[in-house]
Amino acid sequence: QQQVKQSPQSLIVQKGGISIINCAYENTAFDYFPWYQQFPGKGPALLIAIRPDVSEKKEGRFTISFNKSAKQFSLHIMDSQPGDSATYFCAVRAGANSKLTFGKGITLSVRP
């Protein structure tokens, strides 16, 4: 059973546009929802994360929106740039230092 599902599977966006990636989960015990960014040949890097006590968190051009009742959270990238082209993973976790469960990842391509 897949605990976290990402959509879409891939995304192509024009420079300056908005990229939106969604993640759905099942277990209401999850208490931490990060997004990781990975460039080819590199390890995943934490991009932004949210806890369920807030509905939105913004860091620069990156925003997480969290919908607790729908058990969904999404990553919005404003003013998308070619340098944002990467693979993005959502993840979920239940409790500090417990394991992260990752989505399968989506590849974002930002066209110049």
Binding site: Y32, P34, Y36, G41, K42, G43, P44, A45, L46, A49, F89, R93, A96, N97, K99, L100, T101, F102, G103, K104, G105
Partner: protein
């Protein structure tokens, strides 16, 4: 990469041979994790450690063992490598009570 190194970075080995991958951290973090990354599967947890000599299994632990004799080192051993273990392996670390996991640069392992 948050003071994490992995060695080797690339390895080609034959089916049936034992292989050991090393993760070394300079952050003195208590928690260490081994993940594998495969196309279409995202990142999956193999084993993790919550202290020296304290380890536990993840979701894809069959065929793998781990050891942690020092805080800074976490070893992953493939007891008898199989072609299905061809993958990219990532180590991650996390501090006590911390939300964030930081990933190393990865080891690309090919089993022929």
């Amino acid at each position: 990469d948050a003071g994490i190194t992995q060695s080797p970075r690339h390895k080609v080995t034959e089916t049936g041979t034992p292989v050991t991958l090393r993760c070394h951290q300079t952050e003195n973090h208590r928690y260490m994790y081994w993940y594998r990354q495969d196309p279409g599967h995202g990142l999956r947890l193999i084993h993790y450690s919550y202290g020296v000599k304290d380890t536990d299994k993840g979701e894809v632990s069959d065929g793998y063992s781990v050891s942690r004799s020092k805080t800074e080192d976490f070893l992953l051993t493939l007891e008898s490598a199989t072609s299905s273990q061809t993958s990219v392996y990532f180590c991650a670390i996390s501090g006590q009570g911390s939300d964030e996991q930081y990933f190393g640069p990865g080891t690309r392992l090919t089993v022929t």
